[in-house]
Amino acid sequence: MLSFLTPLYLLAGLAILAPILAHLVRKRPREVMDFSSVIFLDASPPRLTNRNRIEHWLLLALRSLILLALALAFARPYLKTLIEQQTSAYPAKERILLIDTSASMRREGVWEQAIQKAKEYIANSQPEDSIAVVAMTDRIESLHSLEHSRQSGISERKILASKSIDGVTPTWLSCDLGQCMLQAMELLNDSRSDQETKTPAEIAIVSDFQSGNPLDSLGSIQWPQDIPIVPLVCQPKVPGNATISILPRTDDSSTAISENTERILVRNANRSKKDRFSLKWLDSDGKPIAAESQEVFVPAGQQQILVLERPTLESNGAQSPLVIELDGDDQWFDNRQYLYRGKKQKAKAICLDSKKRDPKDSLWYFAVRVPISQPSLDVQWEIFDPTEEFKESDHKDLRLVIASSDLSALWAQKLRELIENGLHVWWILDRPTGTLQGDQAGVDPARLEEIWKTWFPNDAVAISERTIDRFQLLQNIDMSHPMFSAFSDPKFNDFTKIRFWKHRQVQGLSSNDWRILANYDDGTPAIFQRPLGKGMVSVVASGWQPIESQLALSSKFVPIVVAMFEQASPLQQDPDYRCGERIPSQLALENWQSIVQQQSDDVGKELRLRDPQNDGVFIAPGIFKASDQEEFVAVNLSKSEGLTDPIDLEEFARFGIPIGQPTSPSNQPESVSRKNQLAEQMEASQGGWWWILLAVSIFAGLESLIAAWRTRHWASLSNNNR
């Protein structure tokens, strides 16, 4: 079968019209005829002669042949062979189109571009290809599966895929690009697992490729080299973006932050053209609380933390939710943060110690000076004398009891019940036992052992005073325990300055039951603890007051007491809910209603659950309230969504992922270019145009000869006529 490499040149064959016309047009006669008058004559233009009047048929045929052959030679004809026909079939491709529907796609112009690029991609694919369309957030959601595409007719595939995009809108969720790519790759692998020769595959990603997208998960596997990705980058109309986030409250004492302040992080993208913004507080109705707003200057690519005083709004005696808004940014979608600081809870710590002694020699004097309050927990110290009565009302909110050697058996009995229900008790053996020098009487070890028996009846321990030469230090400290984990860093783990002048020795501890956190130099246990019911009993074999040791005066004392309390009452962070996060079980089944949301059209909608059984996640930012509860829930956009600077696509190459080019009408699919290559090779090997050129030169020679003969012939004829 005859084919042409450059068939457009065949159009040049139309040039044969020129000689045909030239032959048809009659020449102006040379002879002049005298006539009586021309008044009855019209001048007539040179006209085409009739077809049967074409003169010089042979010359015309030769001239036409020359032009036709030239056009044919330029069109580079070649004969299609069987091999070429076999390779002409286009191998169908499996394509997965990932469409980013994360919140950052809400930026101006991005989503329109995304839809357009996705549709273009589908339109430019081959009809034989099967195309899956998948929405991508922090997970993938299939809109149109590969299987569905394969089962539909070839003519319908593109239409169905394109239709599945309609109605998709950006969500408020974040995007985990790496994870989604892996899942898409698995989809392709599953689809191709039963194929002997794997069909070509491709993953196209329509996204803004913001830098907040985590790609780390791509490093965990070897990406298959036969699946290239085609990035279709959507860019917003305005490149910059500023974002805010409320930093969590910490108990870090180094920052001078009071309870009524919030730390706001303002971050400006690299490409931003704006650097002046303002922050203002809004109430839950979206109205500004204060007239003035806080101005902030953040150059492009930088961030700044602002400490703002939180307005105290109360309604019905309860704290109201707040909104903080960033003004002056081009992109609105991440300019609001929702805040709800619930009521501060109250807690109590009791120090059981005799108040009769000199305060400097007593435990409580040092203990109550340690601030153990937490951001959401107001802790109060109370000092009880063991002789005082312990009322039921005192049990409330009790988290920690620090008891001295003065603890009475009655108290111990009362505490046992509380310990079993979760109370932590630190029993500090802060007084020497037995008979002391002079007339001073020590603590009776039998009483201590009796108390011990109250809590652990099966233990058979013997408590006695240890004789110390000069002082003892702590050793074998269990740095993995929460008590000491704060000191695990080599900078802080020097305990050699804490000297113990006196300490007790507890013998008969079962190492299975008791966890020893530290020993003294002489090997006797210094700090040890054992769970009892839900609670915990911890024993320190020495006091911390200066007559006993240097512990209370050391820099380690405050962290240790705080750690004691935190172990008893773990630190409660402010709840920080983000879109895409799982809804905690205590909120999951409630009927939530939004109070404030970013988009007006979302107001009033229920806090929807993606899957009511087990997959409930927050899907929109805002402030929500259950109809039957007083507390609010503030849900914010994922922090990563605000980081909108585009990533360098070379990042994918770093993970060894091949990057393909999008198919476009000008950029023919691989197979078409291969077909062209084959055609070129075949044409080159056949070399038909050389033969045609040879024919052209023969025709041209013949034409010249005939034309020359004719000219001479006419010349001789006209001479004869004269």
Binding site: M33, D34, F35, S36, S37
Partner: protein
């Protein structure tokens, strides 16, 4: 009908007449005229229409109020009736042969041209009229009158006429207006004026001089001489046509222009006819292939026809 051409039936029997080609091949104009007139007169006896004459004498009963001088008393003596005798002096009638010598007359697509035919015709007429004892004059003109010979009946008059007709065409264009006005001024007596030309001029221009001639009581006969090609413009290949008078050149493809030529030619003829009819001037179309005897015959029949020119 004033406008006439030779009847086809007569043309068909053209072989009975002298072969024009042979006649024209002879240079002697007198011989040509002699031969035609002889042939015509021989044929005349065979013709069923004998007995006519250039002069038509007429007797009319006398009516009261007529001039008594016109009464033919001899006839009164014979018949005892009063008759008026008219055209008593017809034999002394004057005739002027006006021949166009412009360049366009030199055209001929056959062996001889229009002028050759025209002057042979003029010589024939001259000889024929002289034989009837009429006074004959000759006028040659192109854009103006170039030769003038007053009409006389005397010895050697025919030779003088021939000498004028023997001159070749020297003129450039046909301008009938000026020559006709000149003729009208020069011819004092009532005369028969025969104009032989191709009349390739604007017919409207002819109206005024011809009216002038008619107003001076002259009889006028127009003989239009045309080449056969001028009638139908039959040619097979395109040519560059050059006007013989104005020398204007025009490229013409006969196939394309034939129709329009015919249309324009007919329009011209009609226009000419429209000019002549009101004036009562007979008009004979001749082609150069028409036998001269027939032309002579046709001329005479024209003279016989009731044109109304006789009214004096």
């Amino acid at each position: 009908m004033n406008h006439s051409s030779l009847p086809e039936s007569q043309k068909e029997v053209g072989s009975l007449w002298i072969d024009l080609k042979t006649l024209m091949a002879v240079r002697n104009l007198q011989w040509r005229a002699q031969k035609v007139v002889d042939g015509f007169q021989t044929g005349l006896h065979r013709s069923p229409k004998h007995g006519f004459s250039v002069e038509f004498s007429e007797y009319r009963p006398y009516c009261v109020g007529d001039d008594p001088k016109t009464i033919d008393w001899k006839l009164f003596a014979r018949t005892d009736r009063y008759y008026q005798k008219r055209f008593e002096d017809e034999t002394n009638r004057r005739c002027y042969l006006v021949v166009d010598q412009s360049k366009s007359m030199q055209f001929g697509s056959i062996a001889y041209n229009k002028y050759e035919y025209a002057r042979t015709l003029a010589a024939t007429l001259a000889l024929f009229l002289l034989k009837q004892r009429d006074a004959v004059g000759a006028v040659a003109f192109d854009q103006h009158v170039s030769d003038w010979l007053t009409a006389r009946f005397r010895t050697g008059q025919f030779q003088r006429i021939l000498s004028i007709l023997s001159k070749s065409c020297s003129g450039l264009s046909t301008d009938l207006v000026a020559p006709l006005e000149q003729i009208a001024n020069l011819v004092k007596h009532r005369s028969l004026i025969v104009i032989i030309s191709d009349f390739l001029v604007d017919p409207d221009l002819l109206h005024s001089p011809l009216s002038f001639l008619r107003a001076r009581k002259h009889e006028v006969v127009l003989l239009r001489v045309l080449d056969p090609m001028e009638l139908d413009f039959k040619s097979d290949k395109p040519v560059l046509i050059r006007d013989m008078e104005s020398m204007a050149e025009r490229f013409v493809d006969p196939i394309m222009v034939r129709e329009s030529y015919k249309r324009k030619f007919d329009a011209h003829s009609n226009a000419l006819q429209n000019v002549l009819s009101p004036l009562g001037i007979p008009f004979v179309d001749l082609t150069t292939t028409d036998p001269l005897e027939l032309v002579l015959s046709s001329f005479l029949s024209t003279r016989q026809a009731p044109t109304g020119q006789r009214a004096s």
